[in-house]
């Protein structure tokens, strides 16, 4: 990640998921980091993802996390 806009978007995702999962953003970061979703999906797909709505993003990433075997 080299640009601040990607950082801002990643933090927005952490907070949106934290709200939906009733967790802290720190706990959400650990899940997205260990599953590789942050480095392999959220950051590299920023150009596409940042055009989508918050509700869709939460639903999409929640499904992805579950596919990785994490219980949410």
């Amino acid at each position: 990640m080299s640009e601040k806009k990607e950082l801002q978007f990643s933090i927005f995702i952490l907070y949106s998921l934290a709200d939906a999962w009733n967790m802290t953003p720190v706990s959400v970061y650990k899940i997205l980091n260990t599953t590789g979703i942050l480095d392999d999906y959220v950051i590299p797909c920023y150009d596409t993802l940042h055009t989508l709505g918050k509700e869709y993003l939460v639903e999409d990433i929640t499904e992805f996390v579950r596919e990785k075997g994490v219980r949410i």
Partner: protein
């Protein structure tokens, strides 16, 4: 009240962005590495839990504090 919760969330998102950006600049590391350091720090948990109103302090001060008190995070 809902607006206050939403505003608090946006305030913290901006604070975390400032902390991570300043940390990256100060330590001359990639933003992604700075993000990892921050979210593995005690500081991030304290901000998340609103401990002692720490979230109201300036981002640059918090970064200095992080570098001084959690130097073990910068090994490697």
């Amino acid at each position: 009240m809902t607006n206050k919760i939403a505003l608090d969330s946006i305030y913290k998102q901006n604070l975390e962005q400032d902390i991570i950006s300043f940390l990256a600049k100060k330590k001359n590391i990639d933003i992604r590495k700075a993000m990892d350091v921050y979210y593995n720090s005690k500081l991030s948990k304290q901000i998340s839990n609103n401990e002692c109103g720490i979230e109201n302090l300036d981002a640059k001060y918090l970064v200095e504090d992080l570098m001084e008190n959690e130097s073990e995070l910068f090994i490697n």
